[in-house]
Symmetry: D2
Subunit: 343 residues, 4 copies
């Protein structure tokens, strides 16, 4: 059994990671740290885990963490970078679920995240953990930057079109909608039930931190700059992201349905729906799937893709475990054969 450490287990990404790892046949959680909750049973904070997890939160400590085979960081941005160099030096593999290692250009990172990077030298080493793009690199990585939730839904949705070179990459539009769990578990007025239920709104229209992350990946795929407008929206539900993507076709001759099915036929966690069906976020709630559909309305030159994920699973903890499976030579879907609850 792989020995696993989790730094920062008190947020929604953390508790989801714990839930999934507890059901994983090849790993054992050894440590779950939290400065604020040290000493408290994890199941006292998250009563769904009563009877399933008897670990108490402990203070984060490099020495103890170094005894793990792999450590997940489910911490706020800026925390992982302070501990990762030491852990790597000790031979521990690391997956960061926050944003510390997602952006290659440290100046871009510092501009969007508003802080200095304390180990910029690791940015080139870090592998962007999207298995559908970087499977081989992930398998040999010691440090994986787990993608953001929006970037997962958006990138997977655009990928077949960009790889096929059949859209105008200068005017991509991604209109994305997320459940409230994406905003995390911190005390706030803005995310009270009374503030967000029965309402819908756009936010961060002038620029969201996931924009440079998506742009970096799409640019890498294309080998040239892409133009992307990305507008996130807050949806009155807990889990789920839907991204509706728009692009102009430069080549109208391709069968888009075949293109998508072909691109993802070997991907265990991407499900291209049969023609005409539209994915709903609840169909992937609690599962590691990305479901998507592709449309060409009225046979025109605009292609529309709808891509859905559970932001806490495929968009966070599930994708992180997928990366762990690859890094540790486990079966790709170990611990991830989950079926969404319906209703």
């Amino acid at each position: 059994m792989l020995q696993i450490g989790i730094v920062g287990g008190t947020g929604y990404t953390g508790v989801e990671l714990i839930r999934l790892l507890l059901a994983h046949p090849e790993v054992a959680i050894k440590i779950i740290t939290s400065r604020s909750e040290a000493g408290k049973l994890v199941s006292d904070l998250f009563p769904n885990l009563r009877g399933a997890c008897d670990i108490a939160f402990s203070e984060p400590d490099i020495k103890t963490l170094s005894a793990c085979d792999l450590v997940f960081f489910a911490t706020p941005n800026g925390t992982a970078m302070k501990m990762v160099p030491e852990l790597l030096a000790e031979g521990v593999k690391v997956i960061d679920l926050a944003a510390d290692f997602r952006i290659k250009d440290v100046h871009v990172w510092q501009q969007w995240y508003g802080m200095d990077h304390s180990c910029a030298e690791l940015l080139q080493d870090a592998v962007y953990g999207m298995p559908e793009i970087n499977r081989a690199e992930i398998a040999s990585a010691r440090l994986v930057a787990n993608p953001g939730c929006y970037p997962t839904a958006v990138t997977l949705g655009f990928l077949p079109l960009l790889e096929a070179g059949i859209i105008d990459e200068s005017s991509l539009i991604a209109d994305a909608k997320s459940g409230v769990s994406g905003a995390g578990r911190a005390a706030s007025v803005a995310n009270l039930l009374c503030e967000v239920t029965e309402s819908f709104k756009a936010y961060a229209v002038n620029g969201h931190r996931h924009l440079p992350e998506i742009s970096q990946t799409l640019t890498t795929i294309m080998g040239k700059p892409v133009g992307l407008t990305f507008v996130p929206h807050l949806t009155p539900m807990v889990r789920g992201i839907e991204a509706t993507l728009y692009a102009r076709l430069t080549d109208n001759s391709q069968d888009l349905q075949s293109l998508y099915q072909s691109r993802y036929k070997d991907e265990v966690f991407v499900d291209v729906l049969p023609q005409g069906l539209v994915p709903e976020t609840r169909s992937v709630k609690g599962s590691n799937l990305c479901r998507m559909s592709v449309f060409q309305p009225q046979g025109g030159d605009v292609v529309v893709v709808s891509s859905v994920i559970d932001n806490l699973v495929k968009g966070a903890a599930g994708q992180a475990i997928h990366n762990m499976n690859l890094m540790c030579s486990l079966k790709e879907d170990a611990g991830l054969t989950l079926t969404a609850l319906l209703p």
Copy 2:
């Protein structure tokens, strides 16, 4: 007091119309018809109206309706067209909240609505009841086609840009999200709470009936064909539409905030938010306002507009009463000075 008739009062548009008219200082509801519920008190079907409305549903009857000054149709598509010619002949003014008179080209209408039109000769007479565009025509109309909910949010959002002639009208995108009340009050599995809550999805991606309606209006404004991609989405809430609109600027020199504020400065039911704020649907729930914001992300050549309405008020019953006020020379905001409930 104006004598008002309502044909078809058992749906969500109907009950909202009743609620608003009961509070209107210048009108009296005389008749509310329903074939299926004839004889039952309206307040037995809608307990919120207990004590406020003592009318019983009656069978629709031209003779009785002819005694009204104005008749609203809150019926399924295809019903109004069967009764409207006789009512007009009797000198009764008519506002149809369904789609029977929204499309000028009867062939287009028949294609999208899948039935023959029984009084196509009235289509040219009917005035499209969007006061911000057609105020004068509405004031002198005898038959008003009340706009659809999506068309209201989308058209008002694009209007200043189109009138200013500063966007490429060939590639407009409208990504719209609606609460479930837009689907009506009919028994169905698809709209059960257990089917739609905690989920989000696109629908009708290949073509929604509101597409030709929006296109017709935008084309009229521009005087030439527009290219529009319109994708509606179902949002897990009762009321509200948010439309995020995308267009490419052909003229980057305009101050967009000023353009929007200037266009709508005299419109009592359009509220352009101060720069940087984003409207949320709950801020207009139960009110007749359309709130909107305009953005130019990263100063690029894409303009983004977010426009919100209550689909049952500004997108249906409230706009219908606005039209009634204009047709009957009442104060424009009579009965419509409503403040949204918050929370």
Copy 3:
């Protein structure tokens, strides 16, 4: 026009009070205070009020408040008692929507609220503002303690049975359910959408602050101690309280439906439903009504009452305005003829 001050306008009770007073024909809001938001426009905090309210929050100040005819306190417990004596001395009428003046016995108050009372001498003067019980006293009061939300639903539900003397008052049970707005607008993890939606739970089973308040009123009605078990529950919705009340009949001969209809026939804000119907909270959302039904299941000796209110209206701001109307000799329902939004 009566000049009105509101101390503490940043919570949900405050914004509801503002919404209702803005639509009241006989009053003008002169001041809305908030220490934390002083200087900010009220409509910047509550966008539903844009265009309806151009007042900015100001620092609370006795001198300015003294120029008002009546001041509402929509503050946390313990705030009003510090300012009320001075305002009363200036001849200003006061309605406290918090709990400072609800309990006559200062020792009981201090035990449940965990603080010293700074003006216990006013407790006997203060009138408990439930018009259905204390109409005359309210009309001549200078200080009214506005009832709690649960106490309103529970007391009105038990009232006819207790007054008729036909139940065993030693074993009353009140199982009450509240929407999340009852928990207020403070930043907290516990009331995040992700923590409370799609879940239901009891809380404060061993003792809730509203228990002594209800007991005091019921004891006063009966002229002897009552035994009450009160269990509140948190319901995944914004507004609404439903209280299901259970008591043992000591006299089985009465027609309970007639008893209830007779007791409340002159009360404008209590609606006893026809036999067999059950009230739903949404039927009173945004309105000042208490709707209720009475049952005697299987004709046995247990009576069951279901009583619903909007906790922010009849359970707070609406009842406060009802009290203001009585204190200021206005029409009882002035500003309160509201119909719930449906759906």
Copy 4:
């Protein structure tokens, strides 16, 4: 692998049974029948099952079903009784998730369910499938009547008190609240999102079908008639039941916390919370647990129990699989070691 048949797989209980059985290590689903959906892939109706279940619905047929080791009925009331005698004759074990075999007295059954019973002779043979009460009988049963959802939460909550003989069994009160999935997946206006979200109400106050079922079990436990008032309520969420139970203690000397912990210490699916904590329904969503707490408010003579389950799991499909495990000598928790999703 046990061969399993499911009759009636199109409802919420059916799809949950399928989800759970697909993850069960010892069984294989052989047949899923539905008259209305015969020929359609199960995963076309329930997209969460895409990739997990490749079975198509088939017409129900005794011969094919007879080849199964065990058949579940997830059908409307009155369906199972028509097929069960033949299946039993073929040696097939049967678990009915509907109500056909729950009531021993056929007259009581016919009165509450409004139809004749076609195989009343089986009622005495059928074992009421609540393992915490009838473990041994279930293990040797050929026909198990799976308990209703409310009866599961209520009976388990009262059980320790009744067995200990320390409450007045003549005046029990059960105030129960259920999510909307309890109302099933049939097309209806009453359960549309727009009708039930953001609202709360009691229903069936004068008598619900689960009342005689609960009374029968409690009477059997006590060996004498019990007096029970049972009021169900509809809660705006999908899954979950909370039952708040009230009884008068006749013996005040017992430590209730110890009583509950002791009674359930060997029950794998009942979790008594530590003193002072209250269970929330979300902590058992998707899991087979019943969580409960016991309180004695203010040390008085009223005992209050709060008991929560997932109505579709412990209240239906999960308990049915627990029964299957017992009937087929499998590990009791096989396929049922589920952790609730949070958030």
